[in-house]
Symmetry: C2
Subunit: 167 residues, 2 copies
């Protein structure tokens, strides 16, 4: 039981690390016509407690789309480390001036020229339901988990190790 | 009119380039419970004519999911060039032994040990409806299109250039 809990904690820690390394993600939403559409987004939150935060405009397509269907996917690719994270969750617009100040970064002025006072600025919150991650053969997690599994089962290490973490 | 057509051809060419550079993508599907789920996939087709092909197992979750809802998104991140491509399309299982031979690559043996004869192997075809791409400030497309637009409109170059291409 405690081993299992530790495994989940390790997995959460690894997901947080992978997300922090990736920084830019692909946010996928369902368009009103049913198409799945995605766009690159910069992630604002350095720590991942189950919620991901993004700056966007209140009149953007993604905000309209999540009002109709709040299910979203946030995908992270860390090509340098050959690692990927997929977060399935629900999105909501949640403007909070204090939070905007805390999450603000000067680089955001390129998109939002007046800082947290930019007219129409809002915050998009994604509450993670499940997160999955993949480490490819070169990744540390595969070396550890894949080899450990091979030792136990006699099967060769898997090309990518995939674990699902509930939030 | 011819200028416009050339622009679309250029955009298609750039999307093909970006896809070829990225190679690994995130394939997003809708799970039966409504969640949007994604996973990293290796892309098999070197040329992009509007269809993307993937090897997978016929009994995999993604094949079950596209039978219920064929709408998918294929997202490419080229972090080295700060470029992203988002393809919205419809997916179908389409096994074809000859095509499997043509698309086969030795690296795939890691996942499909018996090559094109691996039991349960199938092909997933994504027919692209629309593709969007982004080049960040350092990218060639932004320099060209962004500056050209600034010259025409007097507006400053955009931080990222985003064009949609219909297939």
């Amino acid at each position: 039981m405690s081993n299992r809990a530790t495994g989940v904690e390790d997995a959460r820690h690894r997901v947080t690390e992978l997300i922090r390394d990736a920084r830019i993600c692909l946010l996928t939403t369902t368009a009103v016509d049913g198409r799945l559409v995605s766009r690159p987004m910069g992630l604002q939150a350095a720590e991942f407690d189950g919620d991901l935060w993004f700056f966007t405009y209140a009149n953007s397509a993604k905000i309209r789309q999540i009002r109709v269907n709040p299910q979203v996917n946030v995908g992270f690719s860390d090509q340098r480390h050959h690692a990927w994270v997929s977060v399935a969750g629900t999105a909501a617009e949640e403007w909070d001036r204090d939070r905007a100040e805390r999450l603000w970064h000067p680089l955001l002025r390129t998109w939002f020229p007046d800082g947290p006072d930019t007219p129409g600025l809002t915050l998009l919150k994604v509450h993670a339901g499940t997160a999955e991650y993949w480490d490819s053969p070169g990744g540390a997690m595969v070396t550890l988990v894949g080899l450990a599994r091979a030792a136990v089962t006699g099967r060769p290490p898997q090309p990518g190790e995939n674990r699902e973490v509930g939030y």
